[in-house]
């Protein structure tokens, strides 16, 4: 309950000490009330707010709460959102992620200027997004052209086209196979462990018994 007051140092500490994105998100959301009390007209406070809200925004993305991330941008002070370059970047990123414009997402993450304290979290989101997309690709595609896969994953399509061994190695490392003749990659879906059937069966019958007894 008694949080250390919000400051640049505290933010950095929170980001550094968080064990998981979920933890980061929940700690940061505790600060939202406090942030609400800060004023945007004061230059230092505005700077702190910009940093806080950007970090908070990324903590949403890292926990895949895209919808909630969008709502958080609606809750933050709108004048700050309109004028702050970091937050504007966040908005652009949000739009690209929302619309699943993969190329744009990587461009925004990598090419736009992000402030120094934000850089670590931007990079970790880059990695997170890439990994998430890889999982989705493995499930969604049974065969995919390397160039398309590269675009999804933010790799250089041109070099993949030429059969760049380093990139190919990456795909093969995830269990994908490369078919020389067709020039296609065959992704391997990540299979989840099967469930214990008897347990499910028991629960089912229990629930059905309950329903049955109520529907005389």
């Amino acid at each position: 309950m008694d949080l250390p007051p919000l400051s640049r140092e505290q933010l950095a500490a929170v980001v550094a000490s968080a064990q998981s994105p979920t933890e980061l998100y929940s700690t940061l959301s505790e600060y939202e009330s406090e942030a609400c009390l800060l004023s945007t007209s004061d230059a230092t406070q505005a700077e702190l707010l910009s940093l806080y809200y950007s970090t908070f925004f990324f903590s949403h993305l890292l926990t895949d709460q895209i919808c909630e991330a969008r709502l958080s941008t609606k809750r933050m002070p709108q004048d700050l959102l309109q004028n702050d370059p970091s937050l504007q970047n966040c908005l652009n990123l949000l739009r690209a992620v929302w619309q699943r414009k993969y190329e744009q997402v990587y461009t925004i993450l990598r090419a736009l200027p992000w402030s120094e304290p934000l850089k670590p979290i931007v990079q970790s989101y880059d990695a997170h997004f890439q990994e998430k997309t890889l999982k989705e690709l493995s499930r969604a595609y049974e065969a995919i052209r390397p160039a398309a896969a590269a675009t999804y994953l933010g790799l250089d399509p041109a070099s993949v086209e030429q059969g760049d061994p380093a990139t190919m190695q990456k795909f093969i490392a995830c269990g994908w196979t490369w078919e020389e003749e067709t020039g296609l990659l065959h992704p391997k879906p990540i299979i989840e462990a099967p469930q214990d059937d008897t347990k499910l069966y028991n629960e089912l019958s229990e629930v059905m018994a309950l329903v049955g007894s109520r529907r005389v």
């Binding site: 089912l204 629930v207 059905m208 329903v211 109520r214 529907r215």
Partner: protein, 491 residues
């Protein structure tokens, strides 16, 4: 009753149906609602029957109607049929028919000598008809004055017959109906009802056919009398059911028709017709088992089937899952059916149903079937003509898509491997799904009802005037009746 064109089969381009009339002699059945084929059907293929012997099977006004239909629809038989129609009309007393037949013939063969109107005959006949009408009306008035029941009945009958002959079917129907009060025996009533039914059939007034058949059924008459009437009744009923699109009912009526019908009902239909109509309706509405049991193994209907062996063969092929030959037979007789006065409007629907049923039955044993083999089976002509018969846009694939979308086929199309995959039932998943669904529904419904009870209990129903809430509260319990509709449970 008036909204029906007076004599549908005669097709006088009356005011009601004047819309899309494109030529004289049009067979106008639009007013009956279930029109599948559009205003005019042109049949270019030669039919299998021979006109002369075909028409010889019929008697009465249906001869002309059938001839005119064949003459206007078949390009092959046009002139021959229309000439026969002209002759037929000239042998009768119906002037408008004669005029229509001549007009139709003039369209088909303008140079034919018979294509010009015999005005002498027309004038003479008009005069004679007028005189006859006056005479009969006069006689009837006389009988009425004398109050002799039997004479009045016969007077009306004569008048009805006369109107029927000259093609004034509405008046004929009225005259026959007037006989009712003067009938003294069940036999009289039966004969009157049959007359009404026949006129109604010619008019295409199928509701009237059905209700009068019903009256005939309820008639208290002798056993042998009933047995004598049964075949005609069943056939007439079947005809009306065919026209109202209830093919299974029609099949049942035709199947129930006694073979003693013979040629006794030739003013409406022949035993051959019963075989064809009944067979096609059964094919369109029954599954393989029923067809075998109720049609092929039916000893009374076999008598009819023997007259039309092609129908019998088609049904046997269907029962043996040989759908291609079955459909081929039916296609071969398509021209005949299209030139039949009762089948013309329905044959397309019947064919579609038979075909759909064939496709369904064909798929039953397979979990997947190549589109190619299906195309060969059901659309052989497409195979020859088109570059890729199993393409998404080919008519047969489109047909399958339609059947899947309307739920007729429980299968999906794989355009990659070009196969039709039947949907596998996953019992486990279905049970799970249904458990979840009932769970969810129950919880929601229970929530809704508890809340409703509590809202009423707390006096929080929506009301126009808030001030009344207090008074209403005292009688709030009556509302529980709605929630717990089994009031006794609460008491």
């Amino acid at each position: 009753m008036d909204y029906m064109a007076p004599d549908a089969f005669d097709g006088v381009p009356s005011a009601q149906s004047a819309g899309p009339v494109t030529g004289p002699g049009l067979v106008d059945l639009d007013n009956l609602g279930v029109n599948m084929t559009g205003p005019i059907v042109k049949v270019d293929d030669p039919p299998k029957f021979e006109l002369e012997s075909y028409i010889a099977n019929y008697t009465g006004r249906t001869r002309f109607n059938r001839l005119l239909l064949i003459g206007t629809c078949s390009t092959y038989l046009s002139v021959e049929a229309l000439k026969a129609a002209v002759a037929e009309a000239k042998g009768g007393r119906d002037v408008s028919r004669y005029e229509r037949a001549v007009r139709a013939l003039a369209d088909a063969a303008p140079n034919d000598p018979e294509a010009t109107l015999d005005t002498n005959w027309v004038d003479h006949m008009k005069k004679s008809v007028k005189a006859e009408t006056d005479r009969l009306e006069h006689e009837l008035r006389g009988y009425k004055n004398n109050l002799i029941k039997e004479s009045i009945r016969m007077g009306n009958e004569d008048l009805g017959q006369h109107y029927n002959q000259i093609g004034d079917l509405v008046s004929a129907s009225k005259a026959y109906s007037r006989m009712r009060d003067y009938c003294t025996t069940p036999t009289h009533i039966a004969s009157m009802l049959f007359k009404i039914i026949n006129v109604a059939i010619e008019r295409g007034d199928w509701l009237s056919v059905q209700s009068n058949v019903q009256r005939l059924r309820n008639l208290q008459s002798k056993q042998e009398e009933q047995a004598k009437n049964q075949p005609k009744m069943s056939a007439a009923l079947g005809l009306s059911q065919l026209h109202s699109g209830s093919y299974l009912d029609a099949a049942n009526s035709f199947l129930a028709t006694d073979p003693s019908l013979g040629d006794s009902y030739n003013e409406v239909l022949t035993s051959n017709d019963v075989a064809v109509y009944g067979g096609l309706c059964a094919l369109a509405s029954m599954d393989r088992n029923e067809l075998q049991r109720r049609v092929l193994d039916n000893s009374t209907f076999r008598n009819f089937l023997e007259l039309e062996p092609h129908i019998r063969r088609a049904i046997s092929f269907f029962c043996n899952s040989k759908f291609r030959p079955c459909l081929e037979i039916l296609e071969a007789y398509n021209a005949d059916y299209l030139l039949d006065i009762h089948l013309q409007r329905h044959i397309k629907t019947l064919f579609t149903r038979i075909r759909t049923k064939a496709i369904q039955q064909y798929l039953i044993p397979f979990s997947r079937v190549t589109l190619e083999s299906m195309t060969k089976m059901f659309a052989p002509r497409v195979v020859g003509g088109q570059a890729d018969p199993t393409d998404c846009d080919s008519p047969f694939v489109q047909e399958l898509i339609g059947l899947i979308q309307d739920g007729t086929l429980d299968a999906r199309i794989d355009l990659e491997k070009k196969v039709l995959v039947s949907n596998q039932v996953n019992l486990r998943a279905e049970v799970q799904q249904s458990v979840l669904d009932s769970l969810e529904n129950y919880a929601h419904e229970a929530h809704l009802r508890i809340l409703r009870t509590n809202i009423i209990r707390a006096g929080l129903e929506v009301r126009a005037d808030d001030r009344r809430s207090r008074e209403d509260r005292s009688k709030g319990w009556e509302g529980y009746g709605n929630v717990f509709s089994r009031g006794s449970g609460v008491m």
